[in-house]
Symmetry: C2
Subunit: 418 residues, 2 copies
């Protein structure tokens, strides 16, 4: 079964809004082994919407349309679909009552235009929208499902997760298991080398390498008609993959590095302080992205100037003179100084050259030194990151969090895939 997704909206077609709805839907469907074969985007014009739907019904086995279900005059999807499929719009009393009820609850006046959202093409099944007034709609037209979802991302996501994706998954008749292992501190090519041909032994499974500056995520999707066999293959794939690359795995699923560091600190009853130069506050920002991080994050120092490194962290001026501000000695003294000054168990220090200026032959742009200090002792490492100023800073922040995790967990500081 192959799906076509149609996005409706002038703001998408103009490039002003990036179409994250499509990416969300496609990923959610792919994770359930429902294949997306085509994606098309047209503006808010009834004839264009009708043409796109006609074409999709010719070539695809099912169609999902997002956007244009709102109450304003440029929301034309309902009307265009009704016309294209020859299914006149009819007022659905239950939908109308739901809209009225919602407006009462929010204490808002009901503009007459909102009621147009209760006009439903003949024969459509209604999927109530828990977060807004435009319901999702399912029309099975000449045997092919046509699904209409609103364009507001969180409303679309709720209806996709709650209705559209499970419906299409069931329609495709396949059972699916999926898992993700997140790795940091290695390269896609090294992972590929290490994993080798293992996936060939996993019947019905696919392995995706998903690189970003946080590392490389490994996502396995297994699908098949026999649930027990799918589960068995997924279990084997999980074990084999872990056995091959466990030294670089830092999390599973959608968990972030800062969440893992936070959990580790809570578990050990440690608090942390960070001292940053080239990352300029990004490590502290990442740690405090997690709600409740005040339980373990005590303070951060953004010591951009040498005076700040010396004055706030007790870095020795002699160390800066002898080795430079971007050196292992200074990173170590920053980590120790952050820990001491904050009176906490764990200190992290980051110093480096984010560029684009400031590189030298010995210390090119991308050179970053990271150190950590704790009751477990001290650890440090030199990195060479490539990319733009932004990429280098992001990679350095991820590496700093990973180094703290490795040190606290007693793992090797330089992971080897052996």
């Amino acid at each position: 079964m192959q799906i076509e997704i149609i996005t409706i909206g002038g703001e998408i077609l103009s490039g002003r809004t990036v179409d994250t709805n499509f990416a969300f839907l496609a990923r959610a469907l792919e994770a359930e082994s429902v294949q997306v074969g085509w994606h098309s985007t047209v503006g808010d014009a009834a004839d264009r919407i009708g043409e796109a739907l006609g074409l999709a019904l010719e070539r695809a086995d099912a169609v999902v349309i997002t956007g244009g279900l709102g109450p304003t005059p440029d929301d034309l999807t309902r009307k265009a679909v009704a016309t294209a499929l020859g299914r006149p719009l009819q007022l659905d009393e239950r939908v109308l009552e739901g809209i009225r009820e919602r407006m009462r609850r929010l204490g808002r006046k009901l503009p007459a235009s909102v009621e147009t959202q209760a006009l439903i093409p003949l024969g459509a099944e209604v999927w109530p929208n828990p977060l807004g007034t435009a319901p999702g709609l399912l029309i099975v037209h000449e045997g092919k499902p046509v699904i209409l979802l609103p364009g507001v991302p969180y409303e679309m996501e709720a209806l996709a997760t709650g209705h559209a994706v499970p419906y299409l998954r069931k329609k495709s008749g396949r059972h699916v298991e999926t898992f993700t292992l997140r790795t940091a501190g290695t390269f896609e090519t090294l992972l590929q080398e290490k994993i080798g041909a293992a996936p060939q032994g996993w019947t019905g499974a696919s392995l995706a390498y998903l690189p970003s500056y946080f590392g490389v995520d490994l996502r396995v999707t297994v699908s098949g008609n026999d649930p027990a066999q799918v589960r068995a293959v997924a279990g084997r794939a999980y074990d084999e993959l872990r056995a091959r690359v466990s030294p670089v795995i830092y999390a599973e699923g959608a968990k972030t590095m800062e969440e893992v560091v936070g959990e580790t600190l809570l578990e050990m009853k440690y608090r942390i302080a960070v001292a940053e130069s080239c990352t300029g506050g990004l490590v502290a920002k990442r740690i405090t992205d997690t709600p409740g991080s005040s339980r373990y994050f005590e303070r951060g120092f953004v010591t951009y100037s040498n005076a700040a490194k010396v004055g706030l962290l007790g870095v020795e001026p002699g160390a800066i003179e002898a080795h430079g501000a971007v050196s292992a000695a200074v990173a170590e003294q920053m980590a120790a100084g952050a820990r001491r000054n904050a009176g906490v168990e764990v200190g992290v220090g980051v110093t480096g050259i984010a560029g684009p200026e400031g590189g030298t032959r010995e210390k090119p742009v991308g050179t970053v030194l990271i150190a950590v200090s704790s009751p477990r002792g001290e650890a440090g490492r030199k990195y060479h990151f490539v990319g733009t100023r932004n990429t280098i800073r992001e990679r350095a922040a991820q590496a700093a969090l990973d180094l703290a995790r490795r040190h606290l967990r007693g793992l090797p500081i330089e992971p080897k895939l052996e």
Copy 2:
């Protein structure tokens, strides 16, 4: 003239990669008044590429295809287009020499597969790729331009900016002027009220409101056949818009708030230090996003705990007890303490509740206090931001930078659109 953009690539169709190439192209074309009528995406399959091109040539006046020009076996665009248009591939010696030259310069071995990128459909014009080996291609097929661009974003952007967009703009025969005014500290609805019907007097102009958590950008695009008239309208629109909303404009074009703050500091020969609680390092990170920011950014304090506020910034424990850590008094003492401790001219303090927990009836989630201290005196303001933890932190960081800018420039701290 209406364009169709076709994106090629399984990684796009699976949702794993968000199609930022399309958004870039559509925005660049819209800014030149070239209208995008359709966008479609297909995977790495020659028949699907051919079908998509055929359909596009039926309905659009010109076609731009991105992706699938690389050297690997799943890069099929060149071949598929050659087949669909009946224009056999031919080896282009100059392109081949360019590829060889590039490989020599980078000191890399030339894999045989790279040479396939020198195979060009008959009659195509070659646009050299300054950043990679796959050139851009222009084929005028039965009077309609078909443009092929690589999928690597920076290569695509270079060829789009250097060749494809100017070509299509000229083809459309229209003259275009565009400008952007960036506003912060107000709402889209207030801007609309203030600007009113003014755009109706600007012949051939369109005004777009582009909201984000940095504020609302106002982009005006004027197009027409008479260059002098287009310039005159753009000039009038610029003057009228500025006259109406100047109190909330912080920059023009693509300039960021942190760049404006940096320029202001350099101009005044001031240096800055920031003290952050709820933003957790984001203000320092934003300031140091700008290359060369070490000339004016001295240090940052992420004082998450009360002990850090007291110990590092000299905030009085009595002030925290009497007013709470999230209070105007504490924000003021943080700003003054950052300035004093760093020995610089400008100090900024940010304290607030980013949520999702920690709100009270008097101080709900989203309450943020920001203060600034400098030789000009002191200033401060209370804000109520709505949204998620992430949104609130982003908005607070933008507001802190804007407050510093307003204070340093002697502008009103609470801008009024009147």
